[in-house]
Symmetry: C2
Subunit: 87 residues, 2 copies
């Protein structure tokens, strides 16, 4: 079913810079995501103080994609187990 929610435009601050996010997510969710990205960038900075903010952002994206991939694999594994049991 297509989402009927109107597009929301929210400005958030991540690592000292303003970003305008346009999407159908609610504002609270966008702020939560922005906070998480900001925190992850600071975490990586603490461990690698020599990295510039672009590299920090790229490594934050790498971490997030990795976490996402693991979750997807876990879901696939559970689904396969479920199918195997029901056969």
């Amino acid at each position: 079913m297509a989402s009927k929610r109107p597009k929301v435009r929210t400005t958030v601050e991540i690592y000292g810079e303003q970003y305008t996010i346009v999407g159908d997510e609610d504002i609270g969710r966008i702020r939560k995501i922005a906070k998480e990205v900001d925190e992850k960038m600071h975490e990586i900075k603490d461990k690698n103080p020599y990295l510039d903010s672009k590299k920090l952002a790229v490594l934050t994206a790498v971490n997030a994609v990795n976490e996402c991939m693991k979750l997807k694999e876990e879901q696939d594994r559970k689904l396969k187990n479920k199918r195997r049991k029901s056969n």
Copy 2:
């Protein structure tokens, strides 16, 4: 159980820059993640040609964290449904 895999050091290219990733993930996985981040950055660049690469990377991280959050919520929802059914 703690992972006994040795730390792996891999160099990948993301959006024209080299990154050395150290972790216990295998090399194939790290390359797959790097490719995904690189592709996402190019996708966002196509839609927003005025953005610099730091902002592109931050928005790629925002997208990945959002996707991850949705997956987690889906898993939680399924778990709750399963518990409700078994009560």
